[in-house]
């Protein structure tokens, strides 16, 4: 037997033994998962009675059963709210799970462990964990920050609003997630966003304007209108976008004025807002501007004319030959 044969034999033997190890491990994991399901199945009645009637679980549960019950309740917690959810929170507080998860979120070295704890606290934690979650928005690990923002949305605590705004502005958390979180908190977040409108940071002012536009209503429109006169173009553009959602007739003159802004981005946002608010008085002006040489602004003006009065958009497109008006009129017809 040559050296190559011996090497081939050794490699085959090690491959077979590796395969054996994988099979054994897979079967072990499958057995463990099956056992876990069986334990959970046996505990569902206990979990349901705890949830729906506040019945205490039996004190003699084995460690594996306690863990399975915690997993089960953690999953159920994601699906419900109200007093039934509060019973889960009480249970986890009594069991010391909340304190343990808080300690893990603060001290664990592995980012995934801190993130898991931050995620779980949103499901099983009382609102008193919100400050710790708000602090976790500054964690060095992105997953932890994301989990903390999501959990703050689950807990619906307005106290964290300014921390969330800061996290969105600094891009520590994806802005879309912050928007979702604040939508979960809803109107109670508004008073805490207002101070952002007068911040020295233009990004903070722009962020506040954007979020107020998302959460607010006509009552906030006057303060948002002030943003159209901000020294920052970013803020002025966000104010126009926000007014397209929460603005009304009172805001139309300021929006018409904003279509003359020296920055195209602001003019574009103002034109879109006038279209959204169906300002018929702007049609003639917007139609002229639709023939302008700033592509985005001209297209936004044409879009606005078509949104306000599709028939006029078609007529004016035929008369002026404006390609933007023609396109907007065609799109309006399809819609």
């Amino acid at each position: 037997m040559g050296l190559l044969d011996i090497i081939a034999l050794a490699l085959s033997a090690s491959s077979i033994s590796m395969l054996g190890v994988l099979v054994v491990r897979r079967s072990h994991l499958a057995r463990r998962a099956k056992r876990q399901r069986e334990i959970e199945e046996g505990l569902k009645g206990i979990a349901m009675e705890l949830l729906h009637a506040g019945a205490e679980p039996p004190p003699h549960l084995a460690e594996a059963e306690r863990q399975a019950l915690a997993d089960l309740l953690g999953r159920y917690a994601r699906a419900i709210r109200g007093p039934t959810h509060d019973r889960i929170v009480d249970y986890f507080e009594r069991e010391g799970t909340v304190a343990r998860e808080l300690a893990v979120m603060a001290d664990a070295r592995a980012g995934w462990r801190r993130a898991t704890a931050a995620f779980r606290l949103g499901d099983i934690g009382p609102v008193s964990v919100a400050p710790a979650l708000a602090a976790a928005l500054n964690d060095s690990d992105r997953d932890v920050r994301i989990a903390a923002a999501r959990s703050l949305g689950r807990l619906r605590t307005p106290e964290a609003t300014q921390d969330l705004l800061g996290a969105a502005v600094d891009r520590r958390v994806p802005p879309a997630l912050i928007r979702w979180t604040l939508l979960q908190i809803g109107a109670p977040a508004l008073p805490r966003l207002m101070p952002g409108l007068t911040s020295d940071s233009e990004r903070l002012r722009a962020g506040a304007v954007q979020l107020i536009g998302l959460l607010g209503g006509p009552a906030e429109a006057a303060q948002i209108e002030d943003g159209l006169r901000d020294r920052s173009a970013m803020v002025r553009a966000q104010a126009a976008r926000a007014l397209s959602r929460i603005g009304g007739r009172r805001n139309l003159p300021a929006l018409r004025q904003a279509t003359w802004d020296r920055i195209p981005m602001v003019r574009e946002a103002a034109a879109d807002a006038l279209g959204q608010l169906r300002d018929r008085e702007s049609v003639a002006l917007l139609a002229i501007r639709a023939g302008g040489d700033q592509f985005d602004v001209a297209r936004a003006c044409a879009r606005a004319v078509a949104a306000i009065d599709p028939a006029q958009a078609a007529e004016r497109a035929a008369a002026s030959g404006s390609v933007h008006l023609l396109e907007a009129a065609d799109l309006a017809e399809i819609a």
């Binding site: 569902k44 349901m48 949830l51 729906h52 009637a53 999953r75 159920y76 994601r78 699906a79 419900i80 709210r81 109200g82 007093p83 039934t84 959810h85």
Partner: protein, 126 residues
Amino acid sequence: MSDGKPTILVADDEEDVRELVSYRLTRSGYEVIDAQDGEEAFRLASENVPDLMVLDVMMPRLDGYEVTRRVRAEESLRSVPVILLTARSQETDVSRGFEVGADDYLKKPFNPDELVARVRAVLGRR
């Protein structure tokens, strides 16, 4: 109605949600039939007409809107009230639910007490 108890058909592809809804309704004195998707829900409802249906909006095969639309189009099921259980809460989603014929809707995560109250209210209107 079996044993004098109103029958409620609960359809949701999430097992945990289905269990929570079913347990709470059973505990509140209703007979509950479970379905894992929209197709099964419609089939079970056609076989054994329930007194009310609680349907998740986002389900495989047939979503809650489509099941509601079919229920309203089916002579034997037309009068069965439908409550939609939805993670969506945008105004358009809610109005779409009412447009296809739903009687009420509940947002996820849901409050089980509110669910029972709404079931009672909808059944009481019949």
